[in-house]
């Protein structure tokens, strides 16, 4: 069934009031699930709704969250980015290494420059050369990991004089009583949310992801839009690397390993379609918070950390399934 036919049947299905409720549930399902989780965890553990606990959860979700913001742009434009975890390791290692030679300010600048340059390479390959984004970013995952190892010589990176620098402010500092990682996450989410929802560029990202050919015929420069999405993603990754480096003041080479798929899980949980053309920053933030609070809630009620993997599995599949079911107007797939 074509996209248009699917939408038509969804609209027809919306005719009866029962289906309307179903559509509403599926559309806002992620928010409802979020509220349900919060309530049930709050009932199960007194500490869960403690302000310190909540701040702690958001703070530790901030790194994943910042990366998820950028990946949301890439996914809406109809592409994938599997290199963010590897790139985050790179920026963390680079900023830590340069810190001792260049000083904090220059190190941060240089790190952002290098991370953006790598993002530009990916954007060029996917946007202008139109290579498959899954394979390109898979290749970059490996290549950037190699770069990181070469840079660090396989050693862990540490800041020599941890007390004598203001570098820790991004990961450990507070402003107005709120931890800096949360502020940076919130600020970036607000800015990128506005860019995506309210600017011509944001509309172009949806258009390119929804129907690339139609977008091209309407005069949108597809390659440039995709390229910019990868730059935004790289910027977010650099920010995440900065928070990570500043929080721990030292790092292994593999600090971001495996995060690419976690980030993608958060973005998908937020309802962005891998086919492109749909998703919002706000929902991605909800996706990130759900993952964070589930992890925290399960720990608080005394379960091991790995139980969250299984719970996340069930939630991701349920979330996407219900979303698709609402669009096609029936629960099970019509495949024979």
């Amino acid at each position: 069934m074509s996209e248009a036919a699917q939408e038509r049947s969804a609209r027809n299905a919306g005719g009866s009031s029962g289906a309307k409720v179903g559509t509403f549930l599926a559309k806002q399902g992620i928010l409802i699930a979020f509220v349900l989780f919060m309530v049930s965890f709050a009932l199960a553990s007194e500490r869960f709704l403690d302000p310190d606990n909540i701040l702690g959860v958001i703070r530790s979700s901030a790194i994943l969250g910042v990366m998820a913001l950028g990946v949301t742009f890439v996914v809406i434009s109809g592409n994938l980015d599997l290199s963010v975890g590897s790139l985050m390791s790179f920026s963390t290692i680079v900023v830590l290494d340069l810190h001792d030679t260049l000083g904090p300010a220059l190190a941060i600048l240089a790190m952002f420059g290098m991370t953006l340059a790598i993002g530009a390479v990916i954007g060029f390959l996917v946007g202008y050369l139109r290579l498959n984004s899954l394979i390109v970013t898979l290749g970059m995952l490996s290549a950037i990991h190699g770069l990181t190892l070469t840079w660090s010589g396989g050693q862990n990176m540490d800041i020599a004089d941890k007390a004598g620098t203001w570098f820790a402010v991004f990961g450990q500092g507070r402003a107005l009583g709120i931890p800096m990682p949360i502020l940076m996450f919130a600020l970036l989410a607000a800015v990128l949310g506005i860019v995506l929802a309210k600017t011509p560029f944001g509309r172009k990202v949806y258009a390119v992801g929804g129907n690339g050919t139609a977008a091209t015929f309407s005069g949108i420069r597809r390659a440039r839009t995709v390229f910019t999405c990868y730059l935004i993603s790289a910027f977010c990754v650099a920010t995440a690397g900065l928070i990570q480096a500043s929080r721990s003041m030292g790092s292994q080479n593999t600090v971001g390993q495996g995060m690419e798929l976690e980030v993608l899980a958060a973005v998908i949980l937020g309802g962005a379609s891998l086919m492109g053309g749909s998703g919002t920053i706000f929902k991605t933030v909800i996706g990130v918070l759900i993952l964070g609070f589930i992890q925290n809630g399960l720990l608080l009620i005394g379960l091991q950390f790995y139980v969250q993997f299984v719970v996340t599995w069930i939630i991701i599949i349920l979330a996407v399934w219900l979303d698709i079911a609402a669009k096609r107007g029936r629960l099970l797939s019509p495949i024979a």
Binding site: L82, L125, L129, R130, L131, N132, L134, I135, V136, L138, G139, M140, L141, S142, A143, I144, H145, G146, L147, T148, L149, T150, G154, G212, T213, T216, R222, Q257, G258, L261, L264, A265, I268, L274, M275, Q304, Y306, V307, Q308, F309, V310, V311, T312, W313, I314, I316, I317, V320, W321, I324, A325, R328, L332, S333, P334, I335, A336
Partner: protein
Amino acid sequence: MAPGTWSTFLRRGAIWAFIALELAFFSIAGEFLSVSDKAFMNWDNMLLLLKQSAPLGIIAMGMTLIMVNGNIDLSVGAIFALAAVILLDSMTWPFMAAMGDWSFLLAWVFALLAGVALGALNGFLVWKTGVDAFIITLGAMLGFRGLVFMYNGENPTSHLNWTLVDFAEAQFLGLHTATWFLLVVTAGMWWLMNRTVHGRNAYAIGDNREAAVNAGIRVGPHMMINFMIIGFLAALSAVVFYSESGSVNPNDGMLYELWIITAVVLGGTKLTGGSGSIISTLGGVLAIQILRRGLNHIGADTSTVNLVIGLILIAVLFLDRQLNVKGKEALRI
């Protein structure tokens, strides 16, 4: 020569030409740079190379089928780990221990059944929910890994069965047991893809799903069977590898899916489905393994291996597109 034959030939032969190039390069470079004084093309070295290709290679055969079918499976690393845990742990169960050393045959059956069951679960979800296989198996990658941890916590699972170790380390006609498994799986999958209705259907569905449905192919059950096959192969790979090593960490097999997809794509299989070949996948697996061992041989470290493989993957994608697109795309958008 019919039009298009030349480019087909180029694409089919490219991976083998690349392997020949690698072998030549590492043989010559090895003369000058190698830390050991053994030649790269040493017989034992080549045998070891084949043996080490087996764990990834066996799964890559299944991944070829899945990708020709137009799907993808990101959960194979987790299935690999879970099958390994079941293989090693089941041998310590009281009734199994009572059976003596030959209980390993039953342990294999348990591990393989677990793989098939997990694959069936993935396939069933892809079939019934209509959710993209990428998302289903991305979720399963996390979920199955969670199951591995829940089975035995964060501790490694170990059990040594000497009959089994002897079997795994044996050499038959010069080749190691693992190599034989790889060859048998390759031959079996080649037969499945090229000589059976199921294999033809896999190409048909990957090429044009709508047309396949109209032709009366039952796409859902077909995909489910494919996921059961790759589940089985992931478990078989674990059986081959852990029969020898006898100890598994809960994190084992992580990122396997990415290496495997890299090998399959190097072999020329399309992510969009409908095209790909088992023999070329074998080439892709060998090419990666030669690269790893070769770079090692000339004294390069892991970082170079990662860098080179990543760049080669992107280069292959670029060249492949240049070969395919030329003349076909009237309108360049």
